[in-house]
Subunit: 613 residues, 2 copies
């Protein structure tokens, strides 16, 4: 989506909105951490994000990669910065092509800072002299595909303090095809509003987005302001200087000062603000909190679908996915990235037949063995494993091998039931509660356009010991409302599904639309997920040395237990699935594994299970 | 669907089921009347119907045509009879090919009666001698496409009284590939059950369907029994003979006798009965009523979809249609018959772009001008027209130009609202009440598999005078839950639909399935329906002479009024549509048209309408 359209939306609804800026980190671990942070900050509700251009080879490469990741995996509408610095036409074209392929539709065209070793900016050989040339070039190559923004300098530019000439340049950039302006940071609102007036007097009518730099520490506040030649209002210094050695106080006072500044800007009729996050969440979050702009139960984050949409090329219309990857979004996108079309409206025919192989990049367990052992300890019994799942459900653990994000807030509704199951050795991999038609604006279950109703069938996916499986299967098959698939690692599939076709487990009814059914359960994709689920477990096992009880235990579970999913088709009945499992448990929850035992034929936790008849 | 599969279903559920037999009538009017009767008898719930083979040119042709009509338009699973009488191989092949193209999958293969002019049966030149040869031929040509039935003779055959040899022939027919047996009529159950035992002793294991001839009059009862050499139990004669001149008494007693016979058969474990209807409804209906086998609120007619599915070739998977043709099923099937694919799962892409032209066979108003004037009188005012619609809603009128079937039982819920609208000159063409999730077995709204829930958005389609239209449009557009399309004959389209896409107005949620959404509202098909709706009105107008008030009135409405459809997207609110229209009415409901008035520029009923602000 073009930023100009988002701004027009914001203008129409008069609701304040904001965006975040990130830059490419220096280390691989830094990149991974930043992705995690961007994913969390998605929940703050930014309209879009910017990724700055990393001038120079490897770091320019990283900008392109981050844009692609943000679009495809994080579902964040992204604006890629592009500078003239050190960039010949070929490099520019290459960067634009990569942005295009990533599904990115917004570019911020900048001249850029001079590279460190040069004092004055110079065009690269065969490159562009001015940002306006870059704007014209992008328009020439891509027509209206990209929305193009340019920089505005309310307090002057590094190498040009003359406001009049800077405004002339701004006018030229807009005339060349830019459709929005993002300003450098500033703290002097009065000056900013005066500058906006001058911009308008120049006949520039495109939206202006003020760049806001939250205050993290006193030192960084001063350094950045000085670096950008930003005037600091005296009142700010008077409040911040006395507490300069108390970081907490600086952030508290800084948050109020910045929030006040934001309010003044919004009161002046400019409703979209751009935050320079400096790749950190806290200072920005504090300002948004102070402004009361963060999503809340009364103003929930708007979600088009119950899962995070990918904005990668060709995927924008995708609106159906199997539920199995609910907590493994990235892996699902990776394993389906070669599909020609993505399911839209219904699962059915538009789906390519094959899921990508498990050895593809990004599908396995992330993190080093050491890190994983630290996260998940050294479980020696089924009870230990169950405890990890209980901690995850209690939000004391952020990840599990099968969940790459913290537990969702809707699990709260069924948390006690899930914990009880785990405590009895029924390991719950995935679940959703039943929802019988709540408003599409519901703070927890809502998604899609306003004035709609959304529904869910209760879903539970769990690892079940082979001795419990036959009884569970019998009970499900005797119940008219339950359908299930159960399978071992080797692929021995059991089901009572009435057909090969998909079962919609999440759907929504909206004004003027066909029914949207974004989440389904279905056999072929379950088998693809099964491979992944058992593989993740085996990778976890291999974090431990051979013949250790942890490794033996986890391998035993992966090699012998069943992965089963159960749907309660009667979405009026929230607890049926838990009720039929209520008296079942693995009996020897505390059994510790030794090499001798697991080599034996009839050993294992599954040996003695409590199965009431 | 193969009859053997239906019988296996019946066997599994232990529920009694039945089928009806019809023969080709002699006159065109007789054919039309029979189609209407078959359509009504659909509601008795037969599993399938038989059409007997009309030996000889024109009447054989008619059998093929009736099979095609029953499959395509009436949604009745049909078994075509085929005889060897007077049929060379080419004629047989031609008949089979036509059945195949019609989507028919069941054939009853018979030797057939001798043509009237011959006393003894002889094979046609190049034709088949025995039914078994016909069975073998069908299997050879079509493999398993057709399920094949053959005749059984519990009381002997016209030209062969030897039971043993008849049983041998039966065995041969089954060995050649027949998979069910339909018997000739009989009244002696004990003999029938004895015969069944002998059939089984011969090693014949395929299902046996007893043929049941209900009793209409004493004369026809005797004539048919004698013609078929049927033994009549003494008890039957003792009961019927004394009342032989009282048709009502004969039917009453006959119904009980036949129903008792049916019960005995069912008690013996044969659960599917085949009724020789003789193209009449009453006698068969009385027996079914006596048996309590007719659909009732407690045992509703099972419907796969809310509308009658076409079983024509290529249409069996069709499960989405626009609501506009709800009361014009045949016309919809005709206008879409050339589509390559039929919408399945969702409306969208699988639809061919064009609806058939209005001059295609079967789309216009049926019946002669005289008949139509008789049905609908000579309305001279909007009030007169409104009264016709009120009578239709009150079940005092069976058809309207826009409704080829009596009003559905679900209209009862909103009947008073609809009548009130018509009484104010808002002419209601089509409607459905809102349904917020009732069980799929609900006697009125239910459809689809068991253990599901079905939903509807309230829908109303009406003819609106041009003076009322702007106010109605304003009110709808001010309401967050209502979407509409409004159009004049010349195609001036108004809408507030959020997109070009379809709006699902009927949907169902079932175990293990995607959401089924069989009825939609959408712009392109509404424009195709609009042409038809105004055309039907103009054809009605032309039933009256030029310059008569009736013709002038109806032409005025067709030429100037709007056809509008309104959907209330909030299916929790049943009455919103009626509420927003509640104080609107055509003011001059009693105005009579004269040539002078309608030639004037500003005249017409629409001149003075009451539009409160």
């Amino acid at each position: 989506m073009h930023i100009r359209d988002m701004l027009a939306d914001a203008e129409r609804t008069k609701a304040p909105s904001f965006s975040f800026e990130y830059f490419p980190p220096k280390t691989a671990q830094g990149v991974q951490n930043l992705y995690d942070r961007m994913d969390r900050m998605y929940n703050f509700g930014p309209k879009f994000i910017d990724i700055t251009w990393g001038a120079g080879g490897r770091i320019a490469e990283l900008t392109c990669e981050m844009v692609a990741q943000a679009q495809a995996y994080l579902g964040l509408e992204t604006c890629m910065h592009l500078t003239c610095t050190d960039m010949g036409e070929e490099k520019v074209n290459n960067a634009l092509q990569r942005a295009y392929k990533a599904g990115c539709t917004n570019i911020l065209a900048l001249r850029g800072d001079p590279p460190r070793e040069k004092e004055k900016w110079e065009a690269a050989e065969g490159g562009f002299q001015y940002a306006r040339d870059l704007v014209a070039h992008i328009r020439k190559l891509y027509g209206d595909h990209f929305d193009i923004g340019v920089a505005g300098y309310p307090e002057g530019c590094d190498d040009n303090k003359d406001e009049e000439s800077l405004l002339d340049h701004l006018k030229e950039k807009v005339d060349m095809g830019a459709s929005f302006i993002v300003t450098q940071m500033f703290y002097d609102v009065d000056n900013f509003l005066r500058w906006v007036k001058r911009v308008r007097e120049k006949g520039i009518t495109v939206p202006i987005i003020p760049g806001i730099m939250p205050i993290a520490t006193y030192a960084s506040f001063l350094r950045r302001a000085n670096h950008m030649n930003c005037r600091i209002p005296e009142e700010w210094m008077a409040k911040l200087e006395p507490v300069k050695n108390d970081d907490v106080a600086v952030r508290e006072i800084g948050k109020t000062l910045v929030a006040d500044m934001c309010r003044k800007i919004v009161d002046a009729g400019i409703r979209h603000l751009h935050f320079y996050t400096m790749n950190l969440a806290q200072a920005t979050r504090m300002v948004l909190e102070e402004l009361d702009w963060l999503p809340s139960p009364n103003r929930p984050l708007k979600r088009a679908l119950p899962w995070k949409q990918s904005l990668g090329s060709g995927r924008r219309d995708e609106d159906v996915r199997p539920i199995f990857w609910r907590n493994r979004n990235k892996s699902y996108i990776t394993r389906t990235q070669d599909w020609d079309e993505f399911p839209n409206g219904r699962w059915g025919d538009s789906r390519s037949p094959a899921f990508g192989e498990l050895d593809a990049y990004g599908i396995g367990l992330t993190g080093s063995n050491e890190l994983n052992r630290k996260k998940w300890g050294e479980p020696e019994t089924v009870k230990d494993i169950a405890n990890l799942f209980v901690r995850y459900l209690n939000q004391e653990l952020e990840y599990l091998p099968w969940s790459e994000a913290p537990i969702s807030s809707e699990a709260e509704l069924i948390k006690d039931n899930l914990i009880a199951l785990n405590n009895r050795g029924l390991i719950t991999i995935n679940s959703q509660p039943a929802v019988n038609g709540v408003k599409s604006t519901h703070p927890i279950h809502g998604w899609g356009p306003a004035n709609g109703y959304v529904y869910q069938k209760a879903y539970l996916e769990l690892l079940v010991s082979p001795e419990l499986f036959p009884e569970i299967k019998r009970r499900i098959e005797n119940h008219p409302d339950l359908t299930y698939y159960g399978v071992t690692k080797s692929g021995n599939l059991h089901t009572n599904a009435p057909s090969e076709g998909p079962n919609a487990v999440t759907w929504g009814v909206f004004p003027g639309k066909e029914i949207v059914q974004p989440t389904i359960v279905e056999s072929i994709s379950f088998l693809a997920w099964k491979d992944e689920a058992f593989q993740l477990g085996l990778e976890w096992a291999r974090c431990y040395d051979a013949d250790t009880p942890s490794r033996l235990l986890i391998e035993e579970i992966m090699n012998k237990w069943y992965l089963i999913n159960i749907v309660n088709n009667d979405f009026h009945q929230p607890n049926t699935i838990f009720e039929i499992l209520t008296d079942l448990s693995v009996s020897d929850l505390e059994k510790v594994y030794t090499p001798a035992q697991t080599n034996g034929a009839t050993n294992g936790v599954s040996e003695a299970s409590t199965v009431p008849q």
